[in-house]
């Protein structure tokens, strides 16, 4: 039950893109076409889940015991950068087809603030999810990270679909490109506000 609450909360209610503004660069940058949005979402999903798991372990089994929590930001971003590189190399070896689909997005992901953002949120913020306020445990962390990245994918794919439609219309000149995309995002965010209060 609790995991279901985490899923619904992270995907719909506190959508990482539309409510928390994490990962806006790829959201606006690579959402022109539905196919690239799907590829990006897949890559982000994979990297967020994996890197949050690793940084969670790093925080509680290295930084806290050694009392070097002040190295948090620097070590997290290094781990994420290294991880993204590793995923790229492994993917190239074991699944060339998947690498073809996700490969070009991987280098962009290191500087996607959603990845570092989720990694930092789970070790600094208390969550409620219907029960007492508490820090997340390992399983909850992984579920939360996965759910958040699903939320990213959902918003991204919906948004790309909308932008493909808009591209066919005549848009006033100053609105072309990013401004009309932002107006679309605004309406999408409004739609997602309808989920608030659900959990």
């Amino acid at each position: 039950m609790e995991y279901l609450i985490i899923l619904v909360s992270a995907i719909f209610v506190n959508n990482i893109l539309l409510a928390q503004f994490l990962g806006c660069c790829p959201f606006l940058g690579v959402s022109n076409k539905l196919s690239t949005a799907v590829g990006m979402s897949g890559a982000v999903c994979f990297v967020i889940t994996l890197s949050t798991l690793v940084t969670y372990l790093l925080q509680y089994y290295v930084l806290v015991p050694l009392h070097i929590e002040f190295m948090q930001t620097i070590s997290f971003i290094l781990v994420i950068a290294a991880l993204v590189q590793m995923v790229e190399i492994i993917l190239k070896k074991i699944s060339p087809s998947l690498y073809q689909a996700l490969g070009i997005f991987l280098p962009l992901i290191t500087t996607n603030c959603a990845v570092l953002g989720i990694a930092l949120i789970v070790v600094t913020k208390e969550f409620t999810f219907g029960g007492d306020p508490h820090m997340l445990n390992l399983v909850e962390t992984v579920v939360y990270a996965f759910a958040s990245s699903l939320g990213f994918g959902l918003a991204m794919i919906l948004f790309a679909g909308l932008r493909e439609q808009i591209a066919l219309n005549k848009v006033p000149k100053p609105f072309r490109g990013i401004p009309i995309a932002l107006v679309t995002a605004s309406i999408l965010a409004m739609a997602f506000m309808g989920f608030s209060g659900m959990v």
């Binding site: 503004f21 953002g117 000149k173 965010a189 409004m190």
Partner: protein
């Protein structure tokens, strides 16, 4: 390019928010009021100036292939320094901006300036560049914050001028996207860039 030009180009010609459209996450997330926007802008400027200087000074000694990781480490170090300073001397602002202070590390503006400018220019020029882009970012965030604050809570820089609520949506997520969209359009119209 003169030092003065380096500093002023970030305000209009290479404005990071309205022209280059970089650093969207903090732009949208922290501009619930003019003060918050300004705080975020100044925090980014602090990191931008220092990391630009450090990267410009160390660039000749960094092999090309480990360039990006090195820059990220340098930027992350300055961000953490900023975190400590803010926690100690501006704890309220630190709490308000929260997650978005450590996230300056992955702000594309900072890494972008390192790649595009600091690693091939002198320390002084890089500092001016950081200052200029930082000022442009601060100005944009303050304007966006001000617009959202006036519409959303009926106040400006914390001074309330209407009783009751404003248009709440402007403080929340949809208003952030909408206000930014219209400001970009306005900016394009005024500067006739498009």
């Amino acid at each position: 390019m003169g030092k003065f030009k380096l500093i002023t180009k970030g305000l209009v010609k290479e404005n990071p928010t309205f022209v280059l459209l970089l650093g969207m996450c903090p732009t949208l997330a922290t501009t619930t009021s003019a003060i918050n926007g300004m705080g975020m802008g100044l925090a980014t400027m602090f990191v931008l100036v220092l990391s630009n200087m450090a990267i410009s000074a160390t660039a000749p000694y960094i092999p090309d292939k480990v360039r990006i990781p090195s820059y990220i480490v340098i930027i992350a170090a300055f961000v953490t320094v900023l975190q400590f300073i803010m926690q100690a001397y501006t704890p309220a602002m630190y709490e308000t901006l929260g997650l978005f202070i450590p996230l300056i590390v992955v702000n594309c503006i900072v890494l972008g300036r390192a790649e595009a400018f600091a690693n091939k220019n002198s320390v002084i020029d890089s500092a001016c560049d950081g200052l200029g882009i930082g000022l442009g970012f601060t100005m944009s965030l303050t304007i966006l914050g001000l617009v959202r604050e006036i519409l959303g809570s009926g106040s400006a820089f914390g001074f309330k001028f209407i009783s009751g609520d404003g248009i709440l949506a402007f403080v929340l997520a949809p208003g952030a996207f909408l206000a930014l969209a219209y400001l970009i359009v306005l900016f394009r119209k005024i500067t006739k860039m498009n």
